[in-house]
Amino acid sequence: MTAFNALMARELRLAIRLGGGAMMAVIFFLTVVTLIPFAVGPDLNLLARIGPALLWIGVLLSNLLALDRMFQADQEDGSLDLMLMAPLPMELSVVAKVIASWLTTGLPLTLSAPLFGMMLNMPPEALGAVVLTLLAGTPGLTCVGAIGAALTVALRRGGLLMAILVMPLMIPILIFGISATGAAITGPTPFMTPFLVLLGLSLGAFVLAPVAAAAAIRFGLE
């Protein structure tokens, strides 16, 4: 476990020192939310109605942008080569990086969502529902994003391509995240059904992502 913890500690330390990941993603999220009223008009009723969708889309995009360089930086300075030669299997290294990335990006985004939701005139129960569903869904988004980051690790300019590859795969999480949020706010469908599916999707992604990402990294560095 030393190696696993060492990697997590390094990732967290880097994220905090560079301040890039977490803060930038949250600022981007705020910018997206700020743009919306200019696009749809400052109608508070309308904003409250589409608020959960806006927050989810905002988190999805902000998270995606922050994930782009998840493996790229380590590839560019040769760290990734050494990780493949370490006693820790690459799959577990991916897990460590995914957890660190979620802690420094997914979680801050989720926690900032209710603040931005208030700017969209969302009622408290809607804010609670969004935070709950984002807590369940963002780990899945991070995992799927990790696959995309690993697939494009060998490419010098992978950013846009990664988004294209990954976003279709995020659709199920988005659908069930939004539908659980909607069920919690207005009904009529029960909340637990879509919420449990959402949890299942995140868990499934957590199982699939390390295997797929590690394979993609091995092939990418050859």
């Binding site: 030393t2 390094r10 030669m85 370490a86």
Partner: protein, 204 residues
């Protein structure tokens, strides 16, 4: 650890549809160094990455006699490539400490001794972003010293090193060989030590 021997038999490497090398064989007994020589693009780096397990051989076999049969050769080898694997935002000691813990097998790492060995002891607390190219190279070398692995794969290790750095490098190499370790080194400079040489040439 005197019974080590790295052997390559009939190794071939195909990249991008072209044969980089084939039918390549060599032996590196414990305590000796093998120097890879040859023109640019002839496959020296590819061979090192192949031994490191980063590139799969298209044909042939690599064996490390005397090593741990459970582990791939890559996990018993150090790879010092063109890149130094250093994070500028971390301090010199933090960089080394991470790799020592990540690559090591659990024993507490000897960071200070390794930094002293490459002459970076007094810089331990500085952010790595302040290091010059040669100092970064030394820090990468400290990683190789800090974690004990029997096989060193060095790709142009002298690049960017000043004469003091080179002297320290050769001393570390000599110590490693004296301890029974093996070294495969790709270099264009003359080494002040006895090596076997594997000359790679472009096939006609």
């Amino acid at each position: 650890m005197s019974t080590f021997q790295l052997r390559g038999d009939g190794l071939a490497c195909v990249r991008g549809g072209r044969v980089v090398f084939e039918e390549l064989g060599f032996e590196v007994p414990g305590g000796t160094a093998l120097a890879l020589r040859g023109a640019n693009g002839v496959g020296k780096s590819s061979l090192l990455r192949l031994i490191a397990g980063l590139v799969r051989p298209t044909a042939g076999q690599l064996t490390l006699e005397g090593g741990d049969p459970e582990l791939p050769i890559g996990e018993q080898a150090h790879y010092l490539g063109h890149l130094d694997a250093i994070k500028p935002a971390l301090s010199v000691a933090e960089n080394l400490d991470f790799w020592a813990r990540f690559l090591g097998t659990g024993e507490p790492p000897h960071i200070d001794a390794a930094l002293d060995a490459v002459g970076l002891g007094i810089l331990a607390g500085l952010p790595a972003r302040t290091l010059s190219a040669g100092q970064r190279r030394r820090l990468a070398l400290a990683r190789v010293v800090a974690v004990k692995r029997p096989l060193w794969l060095l790709d142009e290790p002298t690049s960017a090193l000043d004469s003091d750095g080179q002297a320290r490098l050769f001393e570390l190499i000599a110590n490693h060989l004296a301890g029974g370790g093996m070294i495969v080194i790709a270099t264009h400079t003359d080494l002040p030590l006895a090596t076997r040489t594997l000359r790679l040439e472009v096939a006609a």
